[in-house]
């Protein structure tokens, strides 16, 4: 039976996360921050070099402060607005556009689509021909675009230029060209890390206005502007896993179907025992 769907339920902004282990946090926390900074640095250097005329970011928290410190070293103009729909508590989201030429602000129109205009993860999964239905309300998906949007929402500030209008192959080319640029300007480690991150599987689900995102290294819970009375899930496939990822019982943590306890002879013997 379909459960009632009350679209008037909107939860307050909320964001929390947890690492899978201290080892994962120690190994990756700074690398993720460095990758974020590298995207900003390489974008500004690309503008300087004439690779592109403008670029956009979605910046969360301290990434904004870093951006300010770097843009101050240039003559580039920029616009920024707080995106309330993407902000959670003290984790403010700012959408920022940077222009190479003076006087271009406002003339070229904004390239950034508000997060409201971008398709939701679930909508994209349901409507896409790439999505494969695993079971009721659960899709498996192999979309670079949606994965990039998901990581962007988690704070990895990928450029946001009209992401919704790109198709996967275009986006992959865009990302690859930027990563090659990062290599050219000496940001090799960060470029490699971003490539690696995008190969990881990620699980997204939403229930009762709360999204839960599970990456191999951490999980996040945040409010979802779309309310789902029944759990909906999308598995984003990935071919690689970080060595810090522990073994778990569900995607993306499940490497093996074997179960030490419930698969053991002793446990099964107990289950066969008739209660007296």
């Amino acid at each position: 039976m379909k459960k009632p769907n009350d679209h008037s339920i909107i939860l307050p902004a909320s964001y929390t996360y947890a690492w899978v282990s201290d080892e994962a946090r120690i190994a990756w926390h700074q690398r993720l921050e460095a990758a974020n900074k590298a995207i900003i640095l390489s974008t500004l250097s690309g503008l300087e070099h004439g690779n592109w005329e403008r670029r956009s970011f979605r910046l969360y928290g301290n990434a904004w402060l870093f951006f300010l410190s770097e843009i101050g070293k240039t003559n580039f103009q920029y616009t920024s607005t707080i995106d309330r729909s993407a902000s959670s508590g003290t984790r403010l989201c700012r959408t920022v556009e940077v222009y190479r030429q003076q006087g271009e602000v406002g003339l070229l129109g904004s390239s950034i689509e508000s997060i409201d205009m971008q398709p939701s993860i679930w909508e994209a999964a349901v409507s896409s021909e790439q999505g494969r239905l695993l079971k009721e309300n659960c899709f498996e998906f192999d979309s670079m675009l949606m994965k990039v949007l998901l990581w962007q929402d988690m704070g990895l500030s990928f450029f946001s230029d009209c992401l919704a209008s790109l198709i996967d192959t275009q986006l992959e080319q865009l990302i690859e060209s930027h990563l090659v640029w990062m290599n050219e300007v000496g940001l090799d480690q960060e470029s490699d890390d971003i490539r690696t991150i995008l190969t990881w599987p990620v699980s997204w689900s939403s229930l009762h206005g709360i999204q839960e995102i599970r990456t191999p290294l951490f999980k996040i819970a945040k409010n979802d502007p779309s309310y789902h009375p029944e759990k909906v899930t999308v598995h984003f496939l990935g071919k690689d896993l970080p060595k810090e990822m522990p073994e778990g019982l569900e995607f993306p943590y499940e490497r093996s179907k074997s179960r030490k306890i419930t698969g053991s002879k002793s446990f099964k013997k107990g289950m066969e025992q008739i209660l007296e």
Binding site: P4, T16, A18, H208, R259
Partner: protein, 400 residues
Amino acid sequence: MAVELRPLGVACNIACQYCYQHPQREVGGKQKPYDLTKMKEAIIKEGGPFALFGGEPLLVPVDDLEELFSWGLEQFGSNAIQTNGTLITDRHIELFKSYKVSVGLSVDGPGKLNDVRWSRSLVNTREQTEKTHQSIRNLVQQGVIPGLIVTLHKGNASIDKLPLMEEWIKELDQLGIRSVRLHLMEVDNDAVGAKYQLSPEENVQAMMFFHQLEKELSQLRFDVFGEITNLLKANDKQTSCVWNACDPFTTRAVRGVEGNGSRSNCGRTNKLGIDFVKSNTPSFIRYVSLYNTPQEAGGCKGCRFFMMCKGHCPGTSIEGDWRNRTEHCEVWKSLFETKEAELVAEGELPLSLHPAREIIEQQMIAHWSEGVNCSIQSILLKLLIATNTTDKNHEKTERP
């Protein structure tokens, strides 16, 4: 709130079929050696005191146990342990006495009633059960009165088993046991649930049975009934964590310290087999969501007991998804209704029927929306102060 110290993680000498720690064991890696120094440092950082936990903490060698208890007494003035009781020796009891260790013991009943707390074979299971009961007797004889945790399931609380449980509880009461915590079985495995879990009606029947039985006992009390009464009286000062809006990312009531000093959350929220690191950012979005979500969709919207229950423990959520309310909602609702009726019959006005309930609800939702948890008592205090202030101002303006 004590720190749960788990030197050996979830390692255990028995394998209760329903254990909520099985998800961690299913995929568990090699047991790592513990480090006493790192554990002590972590406990100090958490602010102690600690309760020794597992799995089964008495698998820790007795010399290390003594070191921990001795240090614990020096630092905090007392100790605690939660055990299955199968490994307790006279030496352990000496330690418990010398170092002021409060003992919590998990057992589901005598003989066959405890068979679900399985240990490799029926013969071995019954032997372990007898050891546990002998431990209870030995402890009491030595002046160490344990508190018991009893999980209810088809093995001990179906209607045909309740008379046997009655007999046992009365024996415990006579023996001097004062406290029994009743747990409804948490289901993390479909096959285990199908075999052992009582239906909501059976759970209600069992709980009501124990509720009636309590009136015949001289000193033994089942804590759950007193807690529900207190909640209905808007007194949530010392109620257990299941009623207090636990955030599964931080599990405030359980500050776990593992053998290597790392921090962990309450194991009941661990459904993936992964000990996620405790988050730095508490969130109470679960409770705002439950408040707004219709009951037919797994929420608590419109429930007059929501302020007291709050959807209960996220570890007991429907389908193991913390965003749902507890799967035992019907049972708790039934008990709340029973105690509510008792209070009304005594001439009291429980919180569930109080005209101020909605105001308190709105205050609590507002706090949770800001990422802050609070008690019913603290909200009442604020409202009282605000009312008194308003009254005083009103008096001032009225003075000639």
